[in-house]
Amino acid sequence: MSYRPASKIEVLRAEGVWKTYDQQTVTVLNGVDFHAAAGETIALCGPSGCGKSTLLHLLGGLDQPDHGSVFVNGVELPGNGDDLRLLRHEVGFIFQLHHLIPDLSLAENCLIPTVAAGVSRIEARKRLDHLAEKTGLSHRLNHRIQKLSGGERQRTALCRALMNQPRILLADEPTGALDERTRGQVFQLLLDLVATEGVTLVMATHDRALAELCQRTVVMKDGKVYES
């Protein structure tokens, strides 16, 4: 585990965050404190059910805590569970499953966030071409998702997450569904892109080897952060 802050500017903070499900019978997060500086790459590690995904959802404004606060770029999230302004401009998400729309082409899938954010078509296309080149997908832009391999699909999801130039990328086991060889390639690409784009990466993973490639590792257990 290493802690080597890339910047002192804090972009993410969670303070005393609690989260329960099933009418408060299942406690998933148990007073979690978390912070991330701009440009940092952080691995969230821990066994299944320890609350990694839930913490990512709260940090990205997809869900709201029962107690506690989440700050993005110093601004507390209103806590309505779907902070879309945040999702459009500040945060990008990647999931274990690529969550692409199969009837659309690779390019169209990537352009979805730009439509949501009202980015002009020309600007969006430039950004897409840039990211497609970085991820080696330029020749596949017009292909349907069904025609893509698992690695290509996850690279597409990565492109999509970065389309609106978010400052924070939240990744929930982004390589969990890939074979070992592809996993390494995609993860290296993720790290490269994060570095060149200056994005803060918070990634939930079971893979210790991948976690060690991040600047910092946060270990979670039973809804608490034990190591940071």
Binding site: G81, F93, L104, I112, A117
Partner: protein, 370 residues
């Protein structure tokens, strides 16, 4: 462009479901268009019967149907003699029956009546009609189904009447009707000395108010209405119009339920996809826009198809010999607009619940419980 593709993609993904939604709206629109057009056409024909070369209809006050109205003959004679009146003509309406044809409209009219005067006489002449006190003139279609020709006798009710003329009119009711001399009709219907209405033409249109006032003052049991005024106020027309719109509206509600079902299924079968859009920043309004967009396309396609089907049905009905002259195939633009607007509203209403449901989908839950 991508937004439009997101709308189209789902419609094309489930083509059969989409077609069912379109068909629901299409048949509803077609039913509404056909029923309203045919009934409005029928009302229009009836209005033209009354307004033939006249501006006013005088009839008995507070009757539910013109068939029950009794206007005394001397009142018609008096009204005709007023300085402001160009002419006043009595018309007696009745329903008669003949073998195989239980309902035939009968017009008891004088030889001076405009419909006798203006009709195209296929056989016989207006003078023949004036000379023979029991001679009837038949509309072209009535002559066909009664198998009548000049000189033959036709059974009407329990009596036989000689045919003195066959005339052609553009009006289905008249074309399928029997024209009887007024006196013969009065005797036949046991309405001696009265008519159903008097159709009145004024010398000067500025005298309309004075004429209405004069009728009201001298004949308290009668009422004089301008033709348009009569059309608006006559309860039978109102009932027919209301029935037509009600039947059509019920059809559209059924179509709307079809759209609602299509859209509900559309949302329920792609909760994950909606969650993906939410995670990628789509607002509730944008998600609702996709749902309403789909519904609008289904409704628009259904309305277009419905207009084509309805027009086709009306055109086909006009070709049926039995209905010749009864179907006015002129589709009024206002009816088209109303039907399309109702189809649009139905589409919006049908998409309302699915859109609300889609907006309320919690992305994180939808993705977690995939």
């Amino acid at each position: 462009m991508l937004f439009l593709k997101l709308i189209l993609t789902n419609l094309l993904r489930h083509r059969v479901r989409t077609l069912i939604g379109i068909a629901g709206i299409a048949f509803s629109v077609a039913a509404m268009l056909t029923v309203v057009t045919i009934l409005q056409g029928a009302i229009g024909m009836f209005e033209r019967i009354l307004s033939n070369d006249s501006e006013f209809i005088v009839f008995e006050r507070n009757v539910s149907d013109l068939f029950f109205s009794n206007v005394p003959g001397d009142a018609v004679t008096q009204i005709a003699s007023w300085d402001m009146v160009a002419h006043a003509r009595p018309v007696l309406f009745g329903i008669v029956s003949s073998a195989d044809h239980p309902i035939i409209t009968c017009f008891g009219v004088s030889a001076a009546d405009a419909r006798i005067h203006d009709a195209v006489w296929l056989a016989g002449t207006r003078d023949d009609f004036a000379k023979n006190p029991r001679g009837v003139a038949l509309g072209e279609r009535a002559a066909e189904f009664l198998h009548a020709k000049i000189g033959s006798e036709v059974p009407i009710g329990r009596e036989m009447f000689p045919v003195v003329g066959i005339l052609k009119t553009a009006n289905g009711f008249e074309d399928g009707g029997v024209f009887m001399p007024l006196a013969a009709a009065q005797q036949f219907f046991h309405k001696e000395g009265v008519s159903s209405v008097a159709t009145v033409k004024l010398k000067n249109k500025e005298d309309k108010a004075a004429f209405k006032h004069a009728v009201e003052e001298k004949y308290p049991n009668l009422i004089a209405l301008e033709n348009e005024e009569f059309s608006r106020s006559y309860s039978q027309f109102k009932i027919l119009k209301a029935t037509a719109w009600a039947v059509g509206f019920c059809g559209l509600i059924l179509g709307g339920l079809g759209v609602a079902n299509t859209m509900i299924m559309s949302v329920f079968t792609r909760i994950r996809e909606i969650a993906i859009l939410r995670v990628n920043g789509f607002s509730g309004g944008q998600i609702a826009g996709i749902i309403f967009g789909e519904s609008a396309l289904v409704s628009a396609a259904g309305a277009l198809a419905g207009l084509l089907i309805g027009s086709g049905v009306i055109a086909a009905l006009q070709l049926v010999p039995m209905l010749h002259g009864y179907i006015d195939g002129h589709i009024q633009p206002v009816v088209v607009l109303a039907v399309v607007a109702l189809a649009g509203l139905t589409g919006i209403a049908g998409a309302l619940y699915p859109a609300i449901y889609a907006i309320r989908i919690r992305a994180v839950e939808a993705l977690r419980f995939e």
